[in-house]
Each structure stands twice: as C-alpha cells, then as structure tokens.
Amino acid sequence: MQRFMDSLEKLLMPLAEKIGKNKYLIAIRDGFLISSPLLIIGSFFLLVANFPIPGWNDFLAKFFGEGWATKLMQPVRATFDVMTILAVLGIGYSLGRQLDVDAIASSAIALVAFFILTPFITNFTPNDMEVVYEVKSIPLKWVGSNGLFVGMITALTSVLLFAKIVKKGWIIKMPEGVPPTVAKSFAALIPSGIVMVVFFIVKTLFEFTSYGNVHEIIYTYLQAPLTSLGNTLPAMVIAYIFLHLFWFFGINGSSVVGAVYNPILRVLSAENLAAFQAGLPIPNIITGTFQDMFATFGGAGSTLSLIVAMLYICKSKRIKELGKLSLLPGIFGINEPIIFGLPIMLNPIMLIPFMLVPTINIIIAYFAMSLGIVPLTNGVSVPWTTPLVFSGFLVSGIRGAILQIILFIIGVFIYIPFIKIVDRQYLKEEDRLQSEDSGDISFDSLDF
C-alpha cells in the first residue's frame, strides 16, 4: 500500500506542478476572474426576470406592467452575450502581467487580434423572405459563448507574440536629430503592428477554406467536440477522481483539474443560460453550475457531510474541535482545515469516502436530471461559495434544493463508519499523554 501510494504521488506531483505553474492555464483561469463578478450580477437580473416561483411573473407585471422581464435582459446581454470579449481582455491582461509586459497594452492587442479574426457580419433574414442580408456589425454569435475557444487561443497567442517582440527590442532607426521621445513612440508601434499583420494573414488564409473564417472551424472541430465530451457522466466522474486524488496528496486538485476542465464547463453553462434566457429547453446536464452546486458540498470530498458526522458521532477532542473550527468555512465551501487537519491528506481510511461521496453525488444528480425529476441547471452564475439549499434553489428551483439536501444526508451516512475508525484511533492517542514539543519558543523572550 505504501509503495503504491509513493509511486502514485511521484506520478501526480510533477503533473500538478506542470499544470499549476503553466502560465497559459493560469492566464485563462485568472482571465475569467475579471468577468466572474460581472456574470454573477448579470445572472441576478435573469433570475429576477425568471424567479422559480409560480405566479412571480404575473405578480411583478402588476407593478411594472407587461414586458418588464424583457427590459431586465439588457444587463444579462451586456455580460453573457459578450463573455468572450471579457475573457479575451482578462486573459490578455493576465498573460501580459505574467510575461512582464504592459498588461493593458496586452489586453488591447488581444482584443484587436480577436476582432481581426471575427467576421464583422451578421446574417439577417427578414420575416417571410428568403434573401439573407449581410449586416455589418460585431456578430453576437461569436462574441458570446460560441467564440470562447477562439477567444482563449487568440488572447494567448497574440500576447505571447507581442511579448516576444517587445523583449527583442526591435525599433525603427530614426535619423540623427529626431527627439528620443519621438523615436520611442514609433518603437511602440512595432510589436502591435507585427501582431496585427500576423493575425490578418491568419484570417486571410482561413478565408480560402470552405468554412470562411476561424470561428467556424474552431467551433466545429475543437469547441463542439470538447464540450460534448465534457458533457458526459464518465468525463465528470473521471475528472473528479483525479481532482480528489490530487487533494489526497494535499495538492489543490480543484485548481489543477479545473485549469483544464473549467473552460469546457463554462461553455456548457453558458449554453444553458442562453436557452434559459430564450425560454427554450435547457440542453446540458453537466455544466459548471452542476459541478459547483451538486458534485460537492463544503469543498472537495463533499466534506460538509463529514463535518456533520464529526460533530454528531465523534468523541475524541481533536475531531470535535476540528469539526467546530471547520463548520463555518465549510458552509461556504472552504475545507482546507479538514483536508490538512483531520487529515484526509495521505490518510488511506478517509480516501475511500472522500472519493466515493462526490462520485455518488454526481451520479445521483445526473440521473435525477436525466430522468426529469430535477430541472437541469439554468446556467445562472452563482458563486461557488454559496451555501447549499440556496445554491440549488437558484440554479434548479425547489427540487434542486431538495436534491442537495438528500445528497448531503447520504454523504453523512457514507462518512460515518470511516470517521468512527479514525475517531477510535484518536481517542486511544488522547488517553496517552502527549509529550511537549521540544522546539518551542516563548513569545515573551522575543525582542522585536
């Protein structure tokens, strides 16, 4: 067992290091941080317009008149429908900062590169006509969730290229007598100029293909296959097994696995939100919202269930104290105290329920939704720190909240036999006297 764990750790540590320190994955993760608060607020407007209570619509119509809900859509459109623009700005900024070049300039060049690749045309067919008009505009089709993969790739490549050229220090030679500041202003043109020319060439090359633009190709061959793969039960379960293995070795698995999986889940959530917004049937079961609201409660391992088991069943002082300490952070999804304090890290007894509970949560929630017992998540962006019941209600209505409570209780019962074993160990240890830590120092003898 020990040898197996050692070799597993040897396999996972370098992987975590590679992903955890990868500049591009960090840029994507941080880039989305800029848009998250905006998407959350945008979501709230959508929620107010479609609150999951019967009669809500008619109730508000009495005060604000018919069509009030449509008016509330503008903040939703201003965030979700342009989420790729926000992502490009954020990712460009974050990568620019990491590569030590002007972050705002990086952000701007990323946006321009993205716009160069985007056809500024929206197809429009008037009612009862067959003619398709090409309207000059920034197409909402590609600046929302459909363009997200092109956006991520463009932001990363354009800023990388920009930074490389800036660092090369290429400048335009000015004749003697030109003031240095003037020469500098020309120098600043070169990196942006090269990036724009390169992306213009890319755009032109793609125009020769039958797809006509980069967006169609990336969407068809990368984004759509990856999202439909991500939208399967096995994908979610396997991703979560890895996520928990990382945590078992004390590494933030949510951040490692999320670096790869979250962009896909984000697209799936956005597709649901778009359908919800349009009043169409919701397409995806597995989404970012599904992950945040149904896979785990209280952080990886669904440890909020464990905390309740600890508080009600356990007798050892160590576990009781830890349970009290972890309850409040746990309600908001923070569980490092449990992982490092119980510990779950490198504790083979706890590994079993730690991986089992989230897997069961995912499977039950998946089937509850696929069988139509619980509504699919509406894609509304609720912070992952939102406590259960509230979060389930906001994304899947009252049935979502009930599903969360059921999963939470099942989790408690799965954890009980395992935490009892650990509790007995600690009780025995507490019976023995602990020897004092010899490396102790006293604060009173310090002189600063």
Binding site: G20, K21, N252, E336, P337, F340, P343, D440, F448
Partner: protein
C-alpha cells in the same frame, strides 16, 4: 515592523490562518504585519514589498523549490507551512515557525 506573507491558491483558507496568527501577535504585542495573497500575485508583491518571511500553504507546496531559487538574492526565508498546523489553523505554531525563520535568517546574515 516585520512582514510575514502567506500565499496559497486563492488566498482564502490562508486568510483564515492569518486571522488566527494576528490574534496571537496582538496578544503578545508583536510588531508584525501578516497577510494572505493568491500566489499569482506573488511576484509583484514579493519584489515590491520585500516581506521578511514567506510561507506557502501546503496545497501549493510544489511551488517551493522554484520560489526559493527565484528569490534567493532577496534573502528572505521561504517555507511551506506544516500541514497539520495549517489544518487545525494553529496560528500560534505557524507564527512561531515564521519568527524562528526570521531569527535564523538574520543570524546567518
């Protein structure tokens, strides 16, 4: 005023520990500034503010070697917080650990 800075993924759970460490420091009237940050901000903060001691949350311990190497010339100690102290949020032990690191570091200078 000594600066002890903690880094983890999002700076969330470390901020919990920071609170506990501050309580201990206040009780003993120690002149220390303790703060938590997400590690993506590490470079800017470390080079600008030059903290006297840097502690990493155990969940990002794979960053240790690289950071020790990168900031060798700045001369501040960089270590990983003991996972058990981190877990039970033992502010006293972690603060003692940080102070020991600072003292040893100053002795070696």
């Amino acid at each position: 005023m000594r600066k002890i800075y903690l880094f983890c993924d999002a700076g969330m759970s470390t901020s919990l520990l920071v609170k506990k460490m501050q309580d201990v420091a206040e009780k003993h009237n120690l002149s220390v500034k303790i703060e938590a940050f997400p590690f993506v901000k590490a470079h800017a903060i470390i080079t600008e503010e030059r903290p006297d001691c840097i502690l990493l949350g155990p969940q990002v311990r794979f960053l240790l070697n690289e950071m020790q190497e990168k900031y060798k010339d700045l001369g501040m100690p960089i270590e990983v917080i003991n996972p058990v102290d981190y877990g039970v949020m033992n502010g006293e032990n972690v603060l003692k650990f940080a102070i020991k690191l600072i003292k040893e570091n100053e002795k070696n200078k």
